[in-house]
């Protein structure tokens, strides 16, 4: 049987790729995709933990599964809102490149 650490490494790798995407990409949509990767990494983590780490060992404990369901419902809502905001920026600036969104400077 595949052991827990394999899943954890997969999740950590996916999370790192997502985080790298967020930090390195300039296109707002690509950044959003990076965030989605990070959330999916969390989902892998949660389901893997649920499968391997159940203190009472019974089938009653569904926390990990339920948590995952909530994570991807929230992720869908986040994408919907994020895309709407990106579209509204595109309409006014004709660009979705994060660096060109620079009216407000610190």
């Amino acid at each position: 049987m595949v052991s827990l650490w394999v899943y954890l490494v997969l999740a950590a790798a996916l999370f790192s790729i997502g985080a790298f995407g967020v930090l390195a990409r300039r296109n707002a949509i690509a950044i959003l995709m990076g965030v989605e990767l990070m959330l999916n990494a969390v989902n892998i983590n949660l389901v893997a933990f649920w499968r391997f780490v159940r203190p009472d060992g019974g089938s009653e404990n569904m926390f990990g599964q339920v948590f995952t369901v909530f994570v991807f419902v929230v992720a869908a809502a986040e994408v919907a809102v994020g895309l709407a905001i990106i579209i509204s920026v595109y309409r006014s600036k004709r660009s979705v490149i994060a660096e060109e969104v620079d009216l407000l400077k610190w």
């Binding site: 490494v9 790192s16 569904m62 991807f72 419902v73 869908a76 895309l83 579209i87």
Partner: protein, 120 residues
């Protein structure tokens, strides 16, 4: 309970990722020749000359429909855990689910009333 060893590979992975990433960037900067020509930087389309822009535009209406679809579609996932424990919770669960559906329906009628479902 989890043993420490289960988490150690994450640390090793992170370390390895950082080292390899930096190394690759460094090596390609030093060793790689960089002579871009027009042909080289053209997008590959089976040897053909590219026709038109690669990112073709779709009507923005699709986008609105897609977003509404995602939102209503994903809510169905909540029926799954509900169905699993339905027998145990009985009437209470049924009432709760009806409240959930009513709230969703209100959202749906709101979108309808606002004209989000009209194609034009």
């Amino acid at each position: 309970m989890v043993a420490l060893s289960e988490f150690a590979p994450i640390g090793a992975m992170l370390l390895l990722a950082i080292v390899v990433g930096l190394l690759l960037l460094f090596i390609s900067r030093i060793l790689g020749p960089n002579k871009p020509t027009e042909r080289k930087s053209a997008p590959y389309e089976s040897g053909m000359k590219p026709i038109g822009p690669g990112t073709r535009r779709l009507p923005v209406r699709f986008y609105l429909i897609a977003v509404l679809f995602i939102l209503f579609d994903i809510e169905v996932i909540f029926f799954l855990p509900w169905a699993v424990v339905f027998r145990k919770l009985g009437l209470f669960a049924l009432v709760e689910m009806f409240i959930f559906i009513i709230i969703l329906l209100v959202g749906y009628f709101y979108a309808w009333r606002k004209g989000a479902l009209e194609w034009e």
